[in-house]
Assembly symmetry: C2
Homo-oligomer: 272 residues x 2
């Protein structure tokens, strides 16, 4: 692959490439701007036996899920890729095509990126989005007595092959949920984090499982990319009710009479 052949590829999917920065219309004065960025790395977030399309989809879906968790709308995406020696033109086509396809289901598009090389494949996705001013869903607003929901059954890391970012649900929760985040590290650790940020505890009543998933997978595996949210009990929202926010101690999640250990996906340990 030459640099020119790669750039020809990128230009097919990215508008406005060519200057040192992408020049874009900013969110409006009635909006807050959202920025999020995520790595997707060979042997950490995927293995070489995955299809190029699956890697492209996952890389973009991880960041879209962050926008969903804030109740936002994605606008622009930067796709950066450090190519490993084994990547060829066909792989790269599949990767960009899948990334682009997923973005097109939202109204966002690829506005730029960077290309380099490394010994293992490294993708870095940045998404710029917008939320209603002052209305973005944070992790810090949950109050005692709020009901806790998840968007779908959990334990999907080894079971689900496609991540569906919950953008529609996230926007429906704006003005309703008191706190929201996406589940990337496992329910136990993520609910612990939400509790810490909100200075509350949680009583977990039930853990909805995907067919074939175990309780341990749902609690500790992570990579579900479902939304986890707290909602005042009088407010109706879609989702599966899993528990209730308690007065504390902050971050402590009780389940079946005892506190859950706040363990889950560790970003510094290998997994594959």
């Amino acid at each position: 692959m030459t640099e020119e052949s790669i750039l020809a590829n990128v230009r097919r999917y990215a508008r406005g490439i060519g200057d040192d920065c992408a020049v874009l219309k900013p969110p409006t004065a009635k909006q807050d701007m959202l920025l999020t960025t995520d790595f997707t790395i060979e042997d950490v977030h995927f293995t070489r036996d995955w299809s190029a399309e699956r890697v492209g989809h996952k890389a973009v879906a991880r960041s879209l899920s962050d926008i969903a968790a804030m109740g936002g709308r994605p606008l622009y995406c930067l796709v950066s890729i450090a190519l490993a020696p084994w990547v060829d033109q066909t792989w790269l086509n599949g990767f960009y095509s899948a990334a682009n396809d997923l973005l097109q289901t939202t109204k966002a598009w690829i506005a730029g990126g960077d290309i380099s090389h490394a010994r293992q494949l490294v993708v870095s996705i940045t998404i710029c989005g917008a939320a209603l001013k002052g209305k973005a869903l944070l992790r810090s607003g949950a109050r005692q007595g709020d009901l806790i929901y998840v968007s779908a059954p959990l334990g999907g890391w080894k079971i689900k092959t496609v991540i569906e970012p919950r953008l529609d649900l996230g926007r429906k929760l704006v003005g309703k949920a008191s706190a929201c985040m996406d589940i990337t590290d496992g329910l136990a650790l993520d609910l612990h984090k939400l509790g810490l940020m909100s200075n509350v505890g949680a009583a977990l009543e039930e853990v909805p499982l995907l067919p074939g998933a175990t309780l341990d997978q749902a609690l500790y595996d992570g990579e579900d990319y479902e939304l986890l949210y707290a909602v005042p009990s009088a407010v109706r929202v879609p989702g599966i009710r899993i528990g209730v926010i308690t007065s504390g101690p902050a971050g402590v999640v009780n389940y079946e009479g005892k506190p859950l250990e706040p363990k889950g996906y560790d970003h510094l340990l290998h997994r594959s």
Copy 2:
């Protein structure tokens, strides 16, 4: 290093970390938004014998230079790092501290990022900035007869240890320069690219060299991070005049009576 010890480090320099996205005030309706992202990778853009501070400075400077080239102002920075096994807490402190120090000389700040791990160290920096609406400096506006300038003598890849992003100069060129970019791939290739985007040629008259630099280094090495710009001859601007824009052929750069080969830094070849 534990994930918590690293996050404690990041929180020292990054405001507002904790939610799934950073929530930020967007550029105003009188501005365009600028987005740029750059990898800085071990054994590609630096080697392990560099100090942590030098790596942190370079990583951020590369993206600031892109904002400078557009005549913009940096606002927010996302710092993502995939840690190699050799990175320790002291190194990480030095890296973030230098990245933060450079950003503080502008008015930008670290608004978020991601942390993961890889076999070699990979940094990905994204900067969001702003330019006066419709006034961002592009590569595509140079016209026949415009004078060509660079911001300083060239050939600095092996000589300069610190990159100074030319943010003040970039903003001074707004409304004056007809085209602008930063020199990352070498003068020969970058002037060729500016010519292609503007559909013009160039006659190079002289190449200002840093003390100790050779002509070949200035033409082909890249990594100068100086600005290259075209300006109508009646307009006065700071900088060193190096030539004149010609009618074409598009992208052809003549020097000492013959066309320069459009070669330079190849983003897919190893260098160290």
